[in-house]
Symmetry: C2
């Protein structure tokens, strides 16, 4: 009898070669966050249901949040759906010094239908600035995202930027949709643009019965994605609205302070799916592979206020690590080439005193060399070398009974096949050099 | 209106000063695992209920596992209860090369009553050797645990060791308890010894109606903790049992290969609460503070077989990071002294061109210096210095309008209060030196 060995649908196990690559990527992203003066916090994987309720929008609440009760309690819980709402709760709880520059790296859970680049458990690297309303904070978030793409050598990325204030003002003031929940519905439909295309989006919007003018406006937002940033600014300046003018100024400042202006593309059809955004919003995409956005975020000036009772502005971005990795693997930027952290493996035969082998291993470890020792001697040297090769260990330290008596060790580089007789004290330099 | 800002009972938020300390401790533990030739894997936070069911024992299953269904599905899930059962599933799924030396660092979930050192979400650092039955593997796990305690400078730790084969043989063969589930019940009661004391343990055992002889035997196990390892071996050798003799040999090998023999104390009253152990078991404790075991584990030769259908031996240990940290903080071994990763903060006044400040910050970041920049100029230099001081940033780089024109910068070490006029290119050396 054999039990089912697969994880739940949409969940993944990571083998050492996956995990070693992932850890390296996380660490490089984290270093960028730290370079910009951001510090880490951690929040629970489980939140009270009330903490998550009413924050993400209808679809999330009805279909996507991992919401549950235990058999032992009447309390309702949810697995965290993103890192932003827990951050908002955190800020309200601890009242940190503003601007609070903070990062989080961790798992989030969504009950989605699994497909390429979409999982039920995935990792986000979030970077947020809390307590700052200046568009410079927005610019800093985008510069960090740019640094991440540059760090990994992505060549073909674009950061699409928009501002919810522009959209809302046009829908409310110029198209007369006074009900904000209707506007949020419109956002959620437009948000599917990349997935289902323009025609289907317009069909879905039609079902809301908003009138021709609204549909035309949205269509012109979509078509405007072909225009240059300057042309879009000119188009927006034609609206007589101080709110829109403020948003234009904000976008211009963001562009002005950007490390790579030419990567930033204003896109009026960008809406983002989550309810809580209030100002600048962005999504970063690569041309190839077609995998959806690798990073997204924006300003959420009202979310923290739900917890604190008073308004605290904030802006943040999230890097979707799985898509970044999947895209990088496809583009050949990332490779799963490292199967182990072990640098040296010891090959010894059955006639060798294991205690002496352990002594040698201990010495190497004390020098900071990751050393793999099997618990039994190999039946032959060749067997041992083959085993270490399959394990992806670069250096084989070969110890026979005679060698140990003579104090002579053989070190073989399994990449170059070179062998040399070495003293124990020399190994450090060879394997690190 | 203000929403509840606390996490669920037994869950915790970690502020930057907590998180920075935790990350350092995780990283040092991880380095030790790697030095011994172990590689990382990762498994999901959520498992199918069937994966967890029947592995941990009655109490876990009836009261402690985070078990649930979602509103959208009839499937039952559980949050992972430890890292060992997911590892067993992982091994059955991927069939890695043996001996498979593997580590995992992550959260696990237990619906316990929260108290000092006991949470509903906590972190474990697990290290396991799969596919190896030699007691040398047991010894290696204990040496790693010893290295962890030595790494952090704990002075007063003891590693209690026992062997389930000894216990089972005595209960089955010499006391005639043929029903293994009764033996597991006995284990679970004895496991509470540290928490409730000998008298209460004996009272609870009495309720099982096992007869006087069994109670006397258990009492003598408990009292034997005062004996030396050699005296315990002599006592055990008096039993006529090949199974016990094998276990004694195994314990002697473990002692023989231990890095610190004097830290290892055979304790016949050590049982461990979980069902899946089959051979050597251990718990590491410190004399002060009284906080329970900081690490525990043992051999589980039958667990993986539940998933694979054929027996695969394995042994592992788990370091309970929260207790390690709590103990270390109480002992003064750990200190929450670092509030930020930022090394330099820039103090500038409102009349300074922010773009020039960002240029300077970018330069410092390109040199790998973590640099914090506020988004608005301070109203005065002193305000800025005070702000950085409160943030725990060591160096203030002071930039006034005049200074920027003259290319002169002032760097102040906020620990020593020393100020010096520096060139931009010199900062790197000063702050890293």
């Amino acid at each position: 009898m054999r039990e089912d060995v697969s994880p739940p649908k949409g969940f993944r196990d990571f083998q050492p070669e996956d995990e070693i690559l992932r850890k390296e990527i996380f660490s490089r992203i984290e270093k960028i966050f730290q370079r910009y003066g951001f510090d880490p916090i951690e929040t629970p994987m489980v939140e009270k249901w009330e903490t998550l309720a009413g924050k993400y929008g209808e679809e999330a609440e009805k279909r996507l949040i991992w919401r549950f009760k235990l058999p032992y309690s009447e309390k309702e819980f949810g697995l965290r759906y993103d890192l932003t709402v827990p951050l908002a709760r955190f800020v309200a709880r601890f009242n940190p010094r503003f601007p609070f520059k903070v990062y989080q790296i961790g798992r989030v859970f969504r009950y989605e239908d699994p497909q390429k680049g979409r999982y039920r458990e995935f990792w986000q690297c979030d970077v947020d600035i809390v307590g700052e309303s200046s568009p410079l904070a927005d610019a800093e978030i985008l510069n960090i995202v740019i640094d991440v793409f540059e760090e990994f050598g992505f060549k073909n990325y674009t950061i699409k930027v928009n501002d919810r204030r522009i959209l809302r003002e046009i829908f409310e003031k110029f198209l007369g949709i006074s009900d904000y929940s209707t506007i949020l519905k419109i956002y959620r439909i437009i948000d599917k643009l990349d997935k289902i295309g323009k025609e289907k989006v317009l069909l879905l919007l039609k079902e809301l019965n908003l009138g021709e003018k609204v549909l035309e406006q949205i269509e012109s937002f979509i078509d405007a994605s072909k225009l240059s940033n300057e042309e879009i600014f000119r188009y927006l300046e034609s609206f007589d609205s101080s709110e829109i003018k403020v948003a234009i100024e904000s976008l211009k400042t963001i562009l002005d302070f950007s490390k790579k202006k030419d990567r930033i593309k204003i896109d009026l059809s960008l809406v983002r799916g989550l309810d809580y955004y209030t100002g600048m919003i962005y999504e970063a995409v690569v041309e190839e592979p077609k995998i959806g956005s690798l990073s997204g975020g924006g300003r959420y000036d009202n979310l923290i206020g739900i917890f604190t009772g008073n308004k605290i502005p904030a802006v943040g971005g999230s890097i979707g690590v799985e898509r970044l990795i999947d895209a990088g693997l496809e583009l050949g930027i990332f490779k799963k080439e490292k199967k182990t952290y072990s640098k040296v493996g010891i090959v010894y035969t059955k006639d060798v005193d294991v205690k002496k082998v352990w002594k040698i291993a201990d010495y190497l470890r004390s020098k900071g060399i990751n050393t793999f020792v099997p618990f039994e001697g190999y039946s032959g040297i060749l067997d041992g070398v083959k085993d270490l090769d399959k394990r992806g260990i670069q250096f084989a330290l070969i110890i026979g009974k005679k060698e140990i008596e003579e104090g002579k060790l053989t070190l073989q580089n399994l990449l170059t096949r070179e062998r040399q007789v070495v003293k124990l004290e020399e190994i450090d330099k060879i394997v690190k050099g």
